[in-house]
Subunit: 226 residues, 2 copies
C-alpha cells in the first residue's frame, strides 16, 4: 500500500504537492487576505491546476483551516513559555489572553472572513468540530496550564472544568475582537484588562458558602449540555 520510506512516513509524490499547495495558500492568505486569494490564484502560484488543489483539499475552507492551525500553534507556543513558572491566577490568565490576542492581531481583517465559515454548523472550521480538535485541545491545554500553575486557591469541584470554561470565555472574547472596530482593537484589550479581575473574583467567590450552591448548579448544567 504505502511506499517503503520508514523515516518520513508521508513523503509520497502526492504529499509533496499537498504541502506545496498548503504553503502557497497560507502565504497568499497572509499577504492578500481571504477575498483576494482565489483558488485559481493559489493553484497558479503553486504551479498546479485548480483541479489538483481540489484533489487534496475538499474546499477553500479546508485550506483556510490549515492557515488557522498555524496561527493557533504560534499563539500557544508563544504563551506556554511565559507560563512555565507558577504565579497568581489572574496574572497567568492575563498572560494567556493577551498572548493569544497579540499573535492574532496581524490577522484581524482576515478573521472577519474566517469566522463567517467557522460558525456554520458542521463546518470543519468550527471550533467545536472534530477537525478542529487538535487546535482546540492545544488551546485548552494552555488554559489548563494557567489553572494548574496558579497559586490562587480554586474550588476543587470547579477546577477540572475551569480550563474548558475559560476556553469558552476566550471564544467569546475572540468573537468580540472580530467585531471590534476600535483603533488597534483597543476595546478588546480593555475587555481583557477588566474581565480578568472579574473572573478572578468570581473564581474566588465560587468557594464561598453563599455561592457554592449556585456554582454547583451551573457546573451541573454545563456538564449536561456540553
Amino acid at each position: 500500500m504505502k511506499p517503503a520510506t520508514p523515516d518520513t512516513p508521508e513523503t509520497g509524490r502526492g504529499e509533496q504537492t499537498k504541502r506545496l499547495i498548503v504553503d502557497t495558500a497560507v502565504r497568499l492568505f497572509r499577504d492578500q487576505g481571504y477575498d483576494k486569494t482565489t483558488m485559481r490564484g493559489i493553484a497558479q502560484a503553486a504551479g498546479v491546476s485548480v483541479g489538483n488543489a481540489y484533489y487534496y483539499f475538499p474546499s477553500k475552507d479546508h485550506l483556510v483551516q490549515q492557515f488557522y492551525a498555524t496561527v493557533q500553534e504560534d499563539a500557544a507556543a508563544a504563551v506556554a513559555e511565559a507560563l512555565a513558572e507558577p504565579g497568581p491566577f489572574d496574572e497567568r490568565l492575563r498572560v494567556a489572553l493577551t498572548g493569544m490576542l497579540e499573535t492574532m492581531t496581524p490577522y484581524h481583517a482576515f478573521a472577519g472572513k474566517f469566522i463567517k465559515t467557522a460558525v456554520e454548523p458542521g463546518s470543519p472550521l468550527s471550533p467545536f468540530s472534530a477537525e478542529s480538535e487538535p487546535a482546540r485541545e492545544r488551546s485548552i491545554a494552555v488554559l489548563r496550564q494557567v489553572v494548574e500553575g496558579a497559586t490562587t486557591k480554586i474550588d476543587a469541584e470547579l477546577k477540572p472544568d475551569l480550563p474548558e470554561l475559560l476556553w469558552l470565555g476566550q471564544m467569546g472574547i475572540t468573537l468580540y475582537w472580530v467585531h471590534d472596530t476600535s483603533p488597534d482593537q483597543a476595546k478588546t484589550r480593555l475587555l481583557i484588562e477588566r474581565a480578568v479581575p472579574l473572573i478572578d473574583r468570581l473564581v474566588t467567590l465560587a468557594r464561598m458558602p453563599g455561592l457554592k450552591s449556585v456554582t454547583r448548579e451551573a457546573l451541573k448544567m454545563y456538564r449536561l449540555l456540553k
Copy 2:
C-alpha cells in the same frame, strides 16, 4: 419629488415591485431553504429580471434580512401577549425565551446558513448592525417588558441594563441552538429550563452586600465596552 398619495405614502410603482420581490423571496426561503433559493429563482418566481431585484436590494443577504425580520416580528408578537399581566421574573423570562424558540423552530435548518453571514462584521444581517436595529429593538423591548412587569425585586443599578444583558444571553442561546443537533433541539430547551432559574438567582444575588461590588464592576465594564 414624491407623488401625492397622502394616505399610503409608499405605493409608487416601484414600491409594489419591491414588496412583490420580498414576498416571493420570503416564501421561497421558507419553502426551499437558503441554498436552493437563488437570485435567479426569486426573480423568475416574482416575474422580474435579476437586475431588477438588485435595483431594490443590494444583495441576497438583504433579502434574507427581510425574512429574518418577519420571523422576529412573529416571535415578539406571540410573546408580548403572554406577558401582559405581571408575574415573577423567572416565569416571565422562561415565557419569553421559549416563545422565541418555538417561533424559530421551523427554521432551524435555515438558521445555520443564516448565521454564517450574520456573524460577519459589517454584514447588514449582524444582530449588532444598524440595519438590524428595528429587529434588535423589537427583541429588547420584549425583554424590557419581562423586566418591567416582574414582581421580583431587581437591583436598581442593574435594572436599566438588564434587558440588554438578557438580550445578549438570548443571542448566546441562539448560537447554541443553531449548533444543537439533538432531536427537536431538546438540549436547547433543557438549557433554557436550567439557565432561567440560575439567571433568576444571580439577579437576586446581585443586590446582596457581598456581590454588590462585583455587580457594579461588571456593569461598568459592560457600559464601557458596548
